[in-house]
Amino acid sequence: MSTLTLTINKQDYQLENLDARTTLLDVCRQHLQITGPKKGCDHGQCGACTMLINGRRVNSCLTLAVMHDGDDITTIEGIGMPESLSALQQAFKDNDAFQCGYCTPGQICSATALIEEVKQNWPSHVSTDLKNPDGRLVQEIAERMSGNICRCSAYPNIIKAISQVLESQVSNSQTQEPSTQKADNTVQNSSVTGIWSPPPSEAQLGKTSANTKTATATTGGRS
């Protein structure tokens, strides 16, 4: 093989004769000493290795470095450093959204992309309306973060941290209806302290009144 050029956190790195088997994660950690991204499962199951490639979150353990010359790669180091924390990094600190911290770089990279996905109106599995999902809801954040495992189970505070940033960055940019009824549905005002314990109430599910369609709400719609 010849020379591979990777652009990571706006900096170009030249790699000579890299073994084609090397994953993007291993290049960062083993060759370039960019050790923010963590190796958890190495099989795309835990999310600790999450990075952004061209702004999109991916499992860097499940992609080969040789496939990514010319791509814009961002690791946690490119999201923000101690002297220049991103809003999400600050929110994770403020909300005590970690214990051991091993999954945190992946959580923050993942959540950084999640916010962009919400801004772009991407739906999720739990969106009642595929055309107008409200990505700020508790169950939306939990579903959208399901690719990031936290074995310390800091989920309640991870969701709080993400919710806080979503509320400040998304509420005014969304085209959907103003969030007059949303106040009770967001995690900041919610009694939900864990992701699925207890199951979200109808109010938390975005239903202000009893609605028999709740159970089916996220399975379909008319074409």
């Binding site: 073994d19 080969l64 739906p123 399901s146 089916t216």
Partner: protein, 330 residues
């Protein structure tokens, strides 16, 4: 991971030619392939990277359908306005699978080619007729809770893992390919997969080097589009039983459109059009649904741990039909 020779394709025909040699794989999203290569379940000696091909567009077809480039990611397809508006069952199915990170990488063509998640297939020190033909199937009398009840054989009961492919089967999608000699063909998803029979290692009709270039959806089908997925966790788990459906009723409450396809229960995405015919024109009462379930599950074989999938499928079928008739699901 075994060593392999890496190359990048510039054109679909060239990719097909490069990949027509033995033990060569295409790589696009790579989320399943690299996982399997790390475990040395897949051991290609050549990898042809197709990610730079111009196959990432979604276009409208002359007859009102959609032509989806094979490299369109699962994320982009699920969030595509045309898919959300006219094929919501496809959006729902894709969003029910994997995670945000995986859907960002996983491609339309690659999703069809996912390998099974049977434990014995993944465990390289076990026998497995799919991984090592002729070695036997410990799953039949072993850990088979997640495995298939329909389309199985004495050689293999591995389930097909995809959610997306279930919706594609429901929508009568067609897979377009190019072969190493430059010729092209269209394969209906119905004819794409092979039942395991005594050759479970042969999973589809693709020839060596044959590249999926596009997936074509016919014009939309009006009705309630739903995708229900029963699984062990609320998110990021494969289906125990799933059901993709398009259902519509006339003014008298009789079923005028019924399409049903199932995941988690078949060795391939499972659709039985006779079941749909039986239900068509009826009011979806309990008796007719029981008959439909009997027909669907007539050949179903539980192997112990997965026996529960038979009653679970019956209940899911009833739920899907009667909920749609009640006008719910939207």
């Amino acid at each position: 991971m075994k060593r392999f020779e890496y190359s990048r394709a510039d054109a679909p025909e060239q990719a097909a030619t490069s990949a027509s040699t033995e033990d060569t794989s295409f790589i696009a999203g790579g989320t399943n392939l690299l996982d399997l290569m790390k475990l040395e379940i897949e051991t290609p000696i050549k990898l042809v990277d197709i990610t730079r091909l111009e196959l990432e567009k979604v276009e409208t077809t002359a007859d009102g359908g959609l032509r989806i480039g094979t490299l369109v990611t699962n994320s982009d397809l699920a969030a595509h306005p045309e898919v959300i508006a006219n094929y919501p069952v496809l959006s729902r199915a894709i969003l029910a699978g994997a995670t945000g990170q995986l859907r960002n990488k996983a491609t339309t063509g690659g999703n069809f080619l996912q390998r099974t998640r049977c434990y014995y297939f993944y465990q390289t020190d076990s026998a497995c007729n799919k991984r090592e033909p002729g070695t036997g199937c410990p799953a039949i009398n072993g850990e088979n809770r997640t495995l298939a009840i329909l389309g199985t054989s004495d050689a293999c009961i591995a389930q097909h893992p995809s959610d997306m492919a279930v919706a594609m089967r429901l929508l009568d999608a067609t897979i377009e390919t190019v072969k190493a000699d430059g010729s092209t063909r269209s394969i209906n998803v119905k004819d794409f997969y092979c039942l395991p029979k005594d050759t479970p290692h042969i999973e589809n009709v693709l020839e060596a080097g044959e590249l999926i270039t596009h997936v074509v959806l016919p014009a939309p089908v009006k009705g309630m589009h739903t995708y229900d997925k029963v699984r062990d966790r609320a998110s990021y788990a494969f289906a125990l039983v799933s059901c993709a459906a398009v259902i519509d009723a006339d003014d008298n409450g009789n079923l005028k459109t019924v399409r049903l396809a199932f995941g988690g229960i078949g060795t391939e995405p499972w659709r039985n059009e006779e079941v749909e015919t039986l239900l068509m024109g009826t009011d979806g009462n309990n008796d007719v649904i029981a008959q439909a379930a009997n027909l669907l599950l007539n050949d179903a074989k539980g192997k112990g741990q997965n026996d529960f999938k038979i009653p679970l499928t019956r209940r899911l079928l009833k739920q899907v039909i009667q909920r749609a008739l009640a006008g719910e699901g939207a």
